[in-house]
Symmetry: C3
Subunit: 351 residues, 3 copies
Amino acid sequence: METEGNKMKKVLFATTALIATASVAAADVRLSGYGRFGLDYNDANDSNINGVSDTTITSRLRLQFDMSAETDMGVAFDARFRAQAESRDNNPGGAVFNGARFGVVWEGLRVNVGNIIGAVENMPGTYLETRTAGIGIDGAGFFSHVGNVNNEFFNWDAYSSAGVGVNGVEALYTYEGFVGHISYSDRNETIAANNNGGFDRAAIMLTYSWNDFGVAAAYQNSGAMWEDKTLVSGWYDGGNWGARIAYADNDGISKWGLYGNIDIGAASNLVLFVTSEDSVDQADVNAGRGDNRVASTSASCAAGTTCTDTEGETYGINWSYDLGGGASFETGYRRASNDNDTFQAGVYFSF
Amino acid sequence: METEGNKMKKVLFATTALIATASVAAADVRLSGYGRFGLDYNDANDSNINGVSDTTITSRLRLQFDMSAETDMGVAFDARFRAQAESRDNNPGGAVFNGARFGVVWEGLRVNVGNIIGAVENMPGTYLETRTAGIGIDGAGFFSHVGNVNNEFFNWDAYSSAGVGVNGVEALYTYEGFVGHISYSDRNETIAANNNGGFDRAAIMLTYSWNDFGVAAAYQNSGAMWEDKTLVSGWYDGGNWGARIAYADNDGISKWGLYGNIDIGAASNLVLFVTSEDSVDQADVNAGRGDNRVASTSASCAAGTTCTDTEGETYGINWSYDLGGGASFETGYRRASNDNDTFQAGVYFSF
Amino acid sequence: METEGNKMKKVLFATTALIATASVAAADVRLSGYGRFGLDYNDANDSNINGVSDTTITSRLRLQFDMSAETDMGVAFDARFRAQAESRDNNPGGAVFNGARFGVVWEGLRVNVGNIIGAVENMPGTYLETRTAGIGIDGAGFFSHVGNVNNEFFNWDAYSSAGVGVNGVEALYTYEGFVGHISYSDRNETIAANNNGGFDRAAIMLTYSWNDFGVAAAYQNSGAMWEDKTLVSGWYDGGNWGARIAYADNDGISKWGLYGNIDIGAASNLVLFVTSEDSVDQADVNAGRGDNRVASTSASCAAGTTCTDTEGETYGINWSYDLGGGASFETGYRRASNDNDTFQAGVYFSF
């Protein structure tokens, strides 16, 4: 997700103009990022079943490189990649770079190419009002997002922090409280599969905010199964407290979410949510589209775990305490609709 | 290639002396690089044949790290590596580092170790006078280089931006308009192959420029087939326009190139070229050295493409429009001697 | 090892406070590192036996990223990873990042998570007083360390520069001349091995220095064979010269080391050492614990080399000449207890 990166103040390295005639232009490289680490209790892990202790270290170190140049006419070009090291379930990895995103910006218009943000991903009112955009230290699986259903999570175009992304194109237009966003990606087809191996995704997102209120909607059309989806959200953000509602129709599977957040004292903030995912529409089942919820091969059914339906209610709570200087203590619990319990606590610091 | 990196103004991070006694010495890390992205029409791609659309995104993001230290006596040590993300034929990759090059510089003399530049690679008058050093956004295969023949491209020691390089050694000496360059690399032998698995390359390059004129020549001797080569070039660069001629004998295969470039108006520049590659010498064929040109396993015969002889004429045109601030619009067309057509357009920006 | 990194002066990028209320806090990213390259003569290599020339290029380029933030209360959070490119035995690699280490610091206390330093690794009086912490340009196998015996080298928790590390936790406490350090790591078990596949290591290190003298001791308890060990060391450092003694009991295998260093003139320094490794205790052999010294699969028995016992004496000498500006010339010879001879010479520069 982009949310975290965008919040950070960048480290600006002053540079001089590259070309003699470009007296007002500048080019630079900025480094920023965050570290987070803590303990993750996850009842899906068990030393005797999958060899992973139920309590493990979860951590991430992200260093983001933002590069840019500006033409004489004021058109800005930029590019971004990240080096990120991550440990989940006590399985650490060395840092790796992700795929690059390139952008052109002119006044309210931005066009991106490569590892794009994605229109659905960028929709306001879908991620939690927390530092991880989910619960706890690592997001705890992001069951809070109404687009995540049917053991098919993140089946929309989104900026990839650890991979190469979708190599798509997108355009964003901002005018006062309004943002419009369209995105498109196309996967290469293989010769064998010809017209089946590759697929494309097209998405649109519209949002408008006024005073303390906002609404948003997004739609994705995809050549792959289970990926056509419509999302809507609305919110109130009064500064000290906020409330939000979100709904998605995920190729026939409905999911609702209710969210609230409130400041407690000078430095801490509480976030609560509940979501409810409907069962697969009988028409879909009748049409032979199947039920992916218990498929052992789906993304959320990890080896060694008991893969269960994600139908039903998920609820969670997150408490954040601001330590100043870009650091905070974060802790959160959530009980997912597949009966998975996680509890996490740790620290988060930006640089 | 080094050309692009050397043109850029570096982002200098001021540092202080590392050792108390080294009052005039300094050490630093500099970050620079470029991004480029655009569309590539390539008639070698076809969704119905190799599963790749004939028009795809081509992009690269390069972030270069230049590190250096200077001794009390004025001898400079430096080192370089790059992190680079690239997408060709709609197949994006995450950024990876290449192999490191280490250098020692004292007055006009430089000695490098590791991922060396290479004497043949560094020869002036061989690459195009464009930002990519080839045609379009990604160089379009660099058919314009007279050392690239017989479907055996880049078979000389050269700095590798995406790999580890040849782990060689080289020395460069500059005195006024003269540059001399010798390089050497040796590949490890395997036990099985013993004296056959590994091979070495030795090369020398000499160049001299005076007023608006210059000449250069290079020679490589290699233990591997098709790699002994001699190159010569000569050029005139009058500022607003230039002309160049180059010739190479590539282990018996001759290739000629004619090149011209001219400024158009205040901000744009046009580059044109034509090359002509001779057939393999009959003596080589008689001697059983074979004809590599139609070998389906050679480097330029990618899977899914019709691999044809590179004998014959290649011509190309590139148009560049300077946007200021280190950014430019680039577009180019070339028709290669193997009947491959490419047309590319996009932007290029340095930082 | 951490030694080298800690010696370097960091490149500090000034940044501003991240959060408006954090008026005294700061967050930054610092880049530092070193390059070293030279020639390595190693009589274990032979073109006719293992296909590697006995004299090869040895090189390393390390770029370290240190990221940090400080809370309003003065608690500091930090994180580190490195991108490192290395060539040994003429086999170069592109730079890769290692695993991340996260830290929390408050006054004399530091707690680290992830790619930890390790209590045994951090014990003073165990590594040589050289820039590589070993002999020559690349340490020459670190036979000088009394913990390295039985062809089982570095079998303790230690910061990994090229890998992900042990994903452990550790605490360090410093008070005047005293440092105490405890570390712990636990490898995930696999389902098949259940209680056998994974193992844990716990270690403690204590050291105290006063005036020009110091002593240190460390102990590691491990679930893996050959890894229980106790180390002690004592040293005198008079500025112009120093002497040191170290001893370790490595799961029944004793090793002694004697070390001396002396300045010669204004810029050069000489380091000498001798170590003596005992044979495996007969009780161990009788108990069926076996003798790992001639096992062809152990870490130090590389393919293509004649793997011999490491029992016996190793001695070495290293000469360093300070060139100023963070650069030095380094050369060293050592004859290892397994009859392996290496001689190396080259340069080393920090940035």
